[in-house]
Symmetry: C2
Subunit: 462 residues, 2 copies
């Protein structure tokens, strides 16, 4: 192989909106190879260069579960629409309050620790190769003591990872294809999509916009965004996110006690997503493990993405208590550990150094300042929609504002807002049929962009 | 939640042997909850405190595929044995030529780029949140132009990841449970284990030390470590690693042409692992895409781990050419892209900055120097075992030396070497039944450790 010396010469630092520059031409380029080969027979009578379009296909069948998935994953689809909008209005100042991407710089106390660790890797004393797949011991200990010290969670219950989304899929691999699952409706799409991929579901049913075999737990303003568990069928797995993405609502201690009891009665496993716990203003539990007995029925997954702006740095964790057992008594943690060791190799050691710095006193203080900034954004957005007469939910305990447009299609509202204000939001129905008629507005943005977006909302809806 | 202010105060930099400090008490701790509850009835006649040992079990069945896996993943098992050895000989100077963990510092041109990117994340201009799941465009372009410029691979065929091992599992998720697979025997255990986890295999057959439904392609000194394809059954997927881990052998252009032809005739997909390609001394292909027609039948996965010491930093890539199609004409890349978007969120942006620096002229030069250092280690090890009269394979094109102990059990040899020389190696049978009677000696180590290990080998086998 010739190692070509031609390469991109500059280290390009992505802008905060780089998430939108996913290769949007992907579907079109791959579709070019999908055209059926030209019917060569018809051309035989004309002198033509050798037809090159006969496409070789392997004899490997496509995984039927992949075929069940609808369209693209939600956020790349929104990116696609944003890019299409930019083509149409090349001069528009588009503001993204869509995918929930952090925009504010990471506090220096944290990035300095990462830079220091980077430099140390060039020294013989500071170099480290493979780390423990489960994470570095000091970080596991710091996560346990910072977030779980009062709840009986031990250091070795903590599995450090490259993010909660990645851990959700690893958990699905642990569970396999024979489990049943429930999700809040609406919910973060990774739960449902990873379930489809693993073969836990039936086909997508277009009439109800649901996959077969998934229990959709409706969360609406009427039930305070907490499902009526008396109407929910038993499933093996219950995905539950609080504070919730997208509705922004947070479950109370009483509600979570109900949920744990429900899981216990059914012998279910709760996968509890607390990626937004530190945004909580109300005095609700910040961990499912605050609820007595939860260690026997729950896993918790979380992340530094929305606390420290680690959406690109990639660092999360999952708690699998040793008390959580499959029906045959086998510990779930032992199988999760096997997956982590076999399908993963640990989070980047540099990102782990950053996470450890996040949990120092200075790091925690700095992290709370960033969270406080985004919470101010949330207030601005909530106030704006309130002043315009909309019913607004969420916001108080989460960086998401859930705005009601009763009777309207979410995608229509999304498109109208984009077309008329150049602001990207997220259509509620992208989170499940229960999100229809809502728009999620993310509070992640520079202050002036949030203010400008709100000015435009006021213009549109005055 | 009380954010406890007690936390680990110092950022502990792991030693290069940190990989061995995986929680080796894991199995023992989780097994404590497996004891059956005491038969309470027998105690009723005595006044006793309330029995607390009744263990709550969920009603979720353990994934049967997980139950098929034998013991732990190979390398944590070796770590366990090493730790047991350390307990027995606390003063022994144990040398690890076992798991293939890099030991030499990362060149400064690379770590400086990572430190710079870290610092930039604290500035408004340099901050970036979610990146493209497929990797940053300049890095995808640099990988394509550095490694694949002559072979028709395009930037958007490259998927940047947190490592080849992680991508292997993601590929298995794409393929699903209904494919059949072949592996070289012996081979890197992640191929077989991830196949078992996905449910592609039958049970483990203890008599032959093989999983049902996997095609083991025997690679021995007799066939020059290249399988006799005329005796290999058709499978959907063929995992193939060259230069090979563990045998250190590299396939020639003629052999790879045969392999591609074999895949084409069978309509199979080759997953080609080139994590050691830059260690090649002979003039063999460094990419499967050097072989004409390979783009229609092959995926290639690789990594900076063994080139730049990125085992802890985590950065790899996988090439899925748009020409590779399932039997229904659907592009494999499109499904892989969906998995990358749904189950992964991109490699750490800091690690990506490091990878881009690896591919600068200075970075490439520095990387080759590190590789050259390990290749000198390899020569020392090969020479040692040669001088002792062993049949030695590998080494020339890979950082692994494959030493033959005909008629002996690999684990016995492993244990004897560890017991008598305090050197950790890897037993060949850990890579499959075809590795029985061999020991893999890794060339990753500080020079003085490699020299010392070789002195001890000479003492043991003189």
């Amino acid at each position: 192989m010739s190692i070509s010396q031609s390469f991109a010469t500059s280290i390009s630092i992505s802008s905060s909106s780089s998430a939108f520059f996913v290769p949007t031409n992907f579907s079109s380029r791959v579709q070019t190879v999908q055209f059926p080969a030209k019917p060569i027979g018809l051309c035989k009578c004309v002198a033509m260069p050798q037809e090159q379009e006969t496409v070789f296909k392997t004899k490997v069948s496509r995984n039927a579960n992949m075929g069940k998935l609808q369209a693209g994953y939600l956020f790349p689809e929104i990116a696609r629409r944003r890019n299409a909008h930019l083509l149409k209005y090349p001069d528009a100042k588009v503001i993204s309050l869509g995918i929930g991407d952090t925009t504010e710089p990471i506090p220096e106390v944290i990035t300095s620790a990462m830079a220091k660790r980077s430099h140390a890797l060039s020294t013989r004393e500071g170099y480290s190769g493979y780390g423990a797949e489960q994470g570095e011991k000091p970080l596991r200990a710091a996560i346990a003591s910072t977030f779980y010290s009062d709840f009986g969670i031990e250091d070795d219950d903590i599995f450090v990872s490259d993010g909660a989304k990645c851990d959700i899929s690893r958990l699905q691999v642990v569970f396999g294809s024979n489990v049943t699952m429930a999700v809040q409706d609406p919910s973060y799409p990774a739960y449902v999509d990873s379930s489809v991929i693993m073969g836990q579901t039936g086909e997508f049913q277009k009439d109800v916009e649901k996959y077969g075999k998934i229990e959709y737990m409706r969360c609406t303003p009427e039930n305070g965004f907490f499902p009526d568990l008396s109407t929910v069928s038993r499933t093996d797995i219950i995905f539950f996110c609080s504070p919730n993405n997208p509705t922004g609502s947070a479950a109370t201690r009483e509600q979570l006690t109900q949920l744990v009891e429900f899981a216990k009665n059914n012998g279910s496993i709760i996968v509890y997503d607390t990626a937004y716990a530190l945004y909580m203003s109300d005095d609700n539990p910040r961990s499912i493990f605050e609820i007595p007995g939860a260690k026997e029925v729950a896993i918790e997954t979380s992340s530094f993405s929305k606390y420290a702006g680690f959406t690109g740095v990639r660092l999360g964790w999952t708690v699998v208590p040793k008390q959580l057992l499959f029906s045959d008594g086998f510990p779930v943690a032992k199988d999760f550990n096997r997956i982590v060791c076999t399908c993963f190799n640990g989070a980047s050691n540099i990102a782990q150094a950053g996470a450890l710095a996040c949990l120092s006193p200075e790091g925690l203080k700095a992290m709370y300042e960033v969270i406080g900034f985004y919470k101010e954004n949330t207030d601005i957005i909530v106030e704006t929609f309130n002043s315009l007469g909309f019913k607004v939910y969420g916001g108080k305990n989460a960086p998401y504002v859930w705005v009601h447009f009763p009777g309207q299609s979410s995608w229509d509202v999304f498109s109208e807002i984009l077309e008329k204000t150049h602001v990207v939001t997220t259509p509620g129905s992208g989170f499940g049929p229960g999100g229809e008629g809502f728009i999620r507005v993310s509070a992640f943005g520079h202050r002036e962009n949030v203010l400008e977006a709100c000015r435009r909302f006021k213009q549109l809806y005055k």
